[in-house]
């Protein structure tokens, strides 16, 4: 078994993802190697179809890998079955999605409470109210997603992502569905909460401005990792 460096919250080694298609086996990702330190922010960038979202799914344990290793919060994710991966997500991971992914039948408060309830926390409501207040939605607690604007829905999603104090936060194009003003507000909120709680942030984006705010940028092209450097220097270069 590959040894995990205690310094890294995410360690990826020789990661490969293959899928079976009608035409045969297709390699989506191959030879991915990188580490992420606790509290670090990493942007994964690349063209459409380059494999960014696949990488995010694998890192979060939403999908199983074909080859290689992923250690997440000291746990060998590549050895886990679906149930164990779910338990790890409940303990250590938060998510923000491009399409918000709120449960339509639950109110803003109930949506934020959901991960804490699934993890069996007894103070779910308290945590959720406090986070919704932080994202400025304490007056919208009982509103359903359809009664909220896009920006508000994404703020609920961010509050949900931070409930239970996750060690790692994964974000998939968090501002892509919003206008530029709301998009910037969401980004600011995301980084503010990230820094405040010391959470590690891994986000997938097309947005150069957003990627540049991250400490590191990982560039993926056609399933291959072609670059890994500091955020400020990426676009300058």
């Amino acid at each position: 078994m590959t040894k995990l460096s205690q310094m890294n919250v995410i360690q990826v080694k020789d990661l490969t993802k293959k899928v079976k298609t009608l035409e045969g086996e297709l390699t989506i990702l191959s030879g991915i190697n990188f580490n992420v330190k606790p509290g670090e922010s990493v942007a994964v960038v690349g063209a459409s179809g380059s494999g960014k979202s696949t990488l995010l799914g694998l890192l979060a344990g939403l999908d199983s890998i074909s080859e290689g290793h992923i250690f997440l919060d000291n746990e060998p994710l590549h050895e886990f079955d679906e149930e164990a991966r779910a338990a790890l997500r409940a303990k250590s991971i938060g998510f923000v999605f491009q399409s918000f992914m709120l449960v339509q039948s639950l109110t803003a408060l109930e949506n934020v409470m959901l991960p804490a309830e699934l993890a069996g926390h007894t103070d779910a409501e308290q945590q959720a109210k406090s986070l919704l207040e932080k994202v400025g939605l304490n007056h919208r607690l009982d509103h359903y997603p359809s009664q909220l604007s896009g920006g508000e829905q994404q703020r609920v999603a961010i509050a949900r992502a931070f409930v239970g104090k996750p060690k790692i936060l994964f974000a998939d194009e968090p501002s892509a569905n919003l206008d530029s003003k709301n998009g910037r507000l969401i980004e600011e909120l995301l980084f503010e909460l990230n820094q405040e709680s010391g959470t590690t942030l891994v986000l997938v984006t097309h947005d150069e401005q957003l990627a540049a705010k991250c400490q590191r940028i990982l560039h993926i092209d056609a399933g291959q990792q072609i670059d890994d450097r500091a955020g400020e220097s990426f676009y300058v270069g």
Partner: protein, 832 residues
């Protein structure tokens, strides 16, 4: 913790109406079964109780030997009431007059069911009495009075005993239906039998014991009796008798069961569709829950709890509504019929709960299993899991459940298989046709901006979903058409047997010389009559020259001739007639065409029993004369018509030379019945058999069943509507997206509305057309197999099917979408 979350999600889903259709569908299935089973049960019990009056008991045990005492002691132990009857024919003497008559000797408990009616004088009014005559007294029918030329108060002798004629016997509940039975009826007390000394070795005496009690007690008693029954003992109830009432009861029960079955089939389709839609709508929340760390077990527990809650709630609602509805229906029936219906047993409730639970579990199981398998990765790849939606296992499981439910409910493998296979073939044909038609309609060359073009494009785009929708619509329309036509055919078939002026009495034993006098008498009294049928008593002695076995007497320890060919074993009533009777259908051969040597036409079941084929020769024995004729035709006889029916009809050239008596069916209004007494007085050999009570009973049965069928149709219609609603709701999300796109592109409201209306219209026309074809084919088979009706094609439903389909689907579908169409585009975007 999971339960709290599950309840929260359940409450919200319930509020949002996501569970409404599935709840309604389960509730409707339960309500259908509860209502129909209860009504069937209660009407069945009522009809049976009423019908039991025609055998004066719940069950009868008959024999030509006396019964052992244990029969009675055991009956008492099982809490079953008994009444003893002895029958025999004997000569009555009154001064110089004498007359042979059928004597019935009963105990004080007779009749156990039904009413015994008497008159104090020949001209008086009849009234009900609770028991038969006391010892020493005799009650006799009118004809016996006329034959013996006596009056009430006179004396007669039967065997060695003398009796005082106390009353005129007007009606016995268990009088025989057969028009060939003697109508000279005499009732005495069973305690007088020893005095008459008529029971001697070799006497032809018939013993009958009547039984009454609750159904369970009788069933338990029969369980004891069955192994102890002797060969010469016969146990029967009203359903065993070949009477028109028994026939009506059986048909009514079969129809109501079939109707219930169709209701369940429709509700099952609605449950399957709505469960699938509900589960599909939960794909995202489940993927999200799994992403947020929810385990598969947690997800499973949450949704199994949802299903349990929905089932419990829906079953309770269905039971309650079903109970209220059957109460209202039964009250209505009772008011109309002027009687009360007995309480239903617990059975309908148990069947309803069982059906509800089975439907809920079996039709939601596969969608639920798919739901549990939704990968969390769906949060990133939105289409993951969609392919799970079309599942052959789900289809197979649903089909198997439907078939098993049909079998369990109808307990008729033939009908269940016919309906199931025709529906399955319909589904397959429709799927293929719809795909062909939808792809072919691309070439219609309509303008892209027209509503028709949009409607067709929309049909093509959702080809798979539309094929499924089409199948559901067609199935619903097919089942509704099927039931509607069957109901009309069944009722009109019944009514055609009993038109307003149906015969309500028979005049029998009219001699050749009296025929003209009777005819004139009837005309003079404005009494309508059928033809006079000649009746000659004769025996079939041989078939193709081979002798048939004669009947043997067990009493005299005779052995049956095993070598001889089986025959009828008794004298038959033969007739001759030039044209086939109106209510008979020649099924094989040709009606009398003048074959030399004489011809005969045989009723088909008798021909089958005796293995008689066309062209065979039958040898007859009439008196001491024998002759042979050729079988030239077979007939199907409708025994439930109240008309004189004959197993064997001979050509006039053979039989007309034999002395015959005549029989005629008459329709005589109640007030004119007295007028007939003059005829009987002048011609005492003529007998009258009154079947008015029987006709009233059949009419009452038909009316009860017709009303029950009305309720059934409403329920089936509701089930059909629910299928449609669930289907439209399943496609609502996609339709809303389309409306948004079209609106954004600047399409006018009228264009979109018309496109949706035309889309449903086209679906309805197509579904209705195919449904009409398939329901007509299924009708032909079911009518023949289940209701013994002659199946006909129904051109009307070929017109009504597409029309009703178009209207039903277009109106219901459009009205469901209309609310969405009236929202502004922004509102629609938000709702998506």
């Amino acid at each position: 913790m999971w339960a709290k979350l599950a309840l929260k999600l359940f409450r919200q889903e319930l509020k949002r109406g996501e569970l409404t259709i599935i709840t309604l569908a389960i509730a409707l299935a339960v309500m259908t079964v509860m209502t129909l089973s209860s009504i069937t049960d209660r009407i069945g019990l009522s009809i049976e109780q009423k019908s039991n009056e025609f055998i004066a008991a719940d069950r009868v045990l008959s024999s030509n030997h006396p019964f052992d005492d244990e029969i009675y002691t055991q009956a008492e132990a099982f809490n079953v009431t008994t009444s003893k009857i002895i029958y025999f024919d004997s000569m009555l003497f009154a001064g110089d007059e004498m007359q042979i008559a059928s004597i019935k000797a009963s105990d004080s408990l007779y009749p156990l069911k039904g009413d015994l009616k008497v008159r104090d004088t020949l001209e008086g009014d009849s009234y009900i009495v609770s028991q038969g005559p006391s010892a020493g007294n005799v009650w006799m029918s009118d004809t016996v009075f006329y034959s013996l030329n006596i009056d009430v108060g006179d004396s007669i002798e039967i065997g060695a005993a003398k009796f005082v004629v106390e009353k005129v016997l007007a009606e016995e509940p268990d009088a025989p239906f057969s028009v060939f039975s003697s109508s000279r009826r005499v009732l005495i007390n069973i305690d007088d039998i020893p005095r008459t000394e008529v029971i001697q070795p070799g006497s032809r005496i018939y013993y009958r014991t009547l039984f009454a009690g609750d159904e369970k007690a009788i069933t338990d008693y029969y369980a004891w009796l069955k192994p102890n029954l002797k060969d010469n003992q016969n146990w029967y109830g009203v359903k065993d008798r070949q009477s028109p009432v028994a026939e009506s009861v059986n048909r009514a029960e079969r129809f109501l069961l079939l109707a219930g079955l169709l209701g369940i089939m429709l509700a099952a389709v609605a449950i399957a569709v709505s469960a699938k839609r509900y589960c599909e709508r939960q794909y995202d929340p489940v993927a999200m829950m799994k992403t947020l760390g929810g385990s598969r077990i947690t997800v499973r527990k949450i949704y199994l709890l949802h299903l349990s809650l929905v089932t419990i709630f829906a079953v309770s609602v269905g039971l309650f509504v079903g109970f209220v509805l059957q109460g209202v229906a039964v009250d209505q029936l009772a008011k109309t019929m002027g009687n009360t219906l007995p309480s239903a047993s617990l059975k309908p409730m148990l069947i309803a709960v069982f059906t509800g639970v089975i439907c809920a579990v079996m039709f939601s199981l596969k969608p639920l299993l798919d739901l549990f398998d939704i990968p969390p990765l769906r949060v990133l790849r939105r289409n993951l899991g969609d392919t799970l939606a079309v599942s052959k296992i789900h289809l197979g499981l649903s089909a198997l459940t439907v078939y098993l439910l049909m079998l369990a409910y109808s307990q008729n493998i033939v009908v269940s298989t016919i309906l199931f296979v025709s529906s399955a073939v319909l589904a397959g044909v429709l799927f293929g046709c719809s795909r062909l038609l939808l792809s072919g309609s691309r070439k219609l060359g309509l303008k892209p901006s027209s509503s028709w073009s949009l409607a067709i494009a929309s049909l093509q785009k959702r080809a798979n979903a539309n094929s499924v929708q089409l199948i559901s619509f067609a199935l619903a329309i097919k089942l509704m058409l099927f039931l509607f036509v069957l109901k009309n055919d069944l009722i009109s078939d019944w009514q055609s047997q009993l038109p307003v002026n149906a015969p309500n009495a028979f005049l029998v034993n009219i001699t050749q010389s009296e025929r003209a006098i009777v005819s004139d008498y009837l005309t003079a009294n404005s009494i309508t009559t059928t033809d006079f049928y000649p009746v000659v008593r004769g025996r079939v002695n041989g078939i193709n020259g081979e002798k048939v076995a004669r009947s043997v007497s067990a009493q005299d320890n005779e052995k049956k001739d095993e070598e001889a060919r089986s025959g009828v074993g008794r004298e038959l009533n033969l007739t001759w007639i030039a044209e086939p009777p109106k209510h008979n259908e020649v099924t094989q051969g040709e009606w009398f065409s003048g074959v030399e040597g004489g011809e005969t036409s045989i009723e088909e079941s008798m021909a089958e029993r005796l293995d008689i084929k066309l062209g065979d020769t039958l040898d007859f024995l009439i008196g001491s004369e024998t002759f042979s004729v050729t079988v030239t035709s077979m007939r199907k006889v409708n025994w439930s018509t109240l008309q004189p029916n004959f197993f064997i009809i001979l050509s006039p050239d053979v039989l007309s030379s034999f002395p015959a008596t005549y029989i005629s069916a008459i329709n005589v209004p109640g007030e004119s019945k007295r007028a007939l007494q003059g005829l009987l007085r002048d011609h005492p050999s003529i007998s009258i058999i009154d079947v008015d009570t029987l006709i009233k009973q059949i009419r009452s049965t038909i009316e009860q069943v017709s009303m029950a069928i009305g309720f059934v149709l409403v329920i089936v219609l509701l089930c059909g509507a629910l299928v449609l609603i669930s289907q439209v709701q399943a496609s609502l999300q996609e339709r809303m997206q389309e409306v948004v796109i079209l609106r954004t592109l600047g399409a006018r409201g009228r264009l979109i509305k018309n496109a949706i209306l035309y889309e449903f219209f086209l679906l309805g026309v197509f579904a209705g057309t195919v449904a009409a074809v398939f329901s007509d084919v299924a009708l032909l088979i079911v009518q023949y197999n289940m209701f013994e009706q002659i199946g006909n094609l129904h051109p009307m439903i070929w017109l009504v099917g597409p029309l009703a389909g178009a209207l039903f689907v277009a109106i219901l579908g459009y009205s469901m979408i209309a609310k969405t169409l009236n929202k502004n585009t922004q509102g629609l975007v938000r709702a998506l």
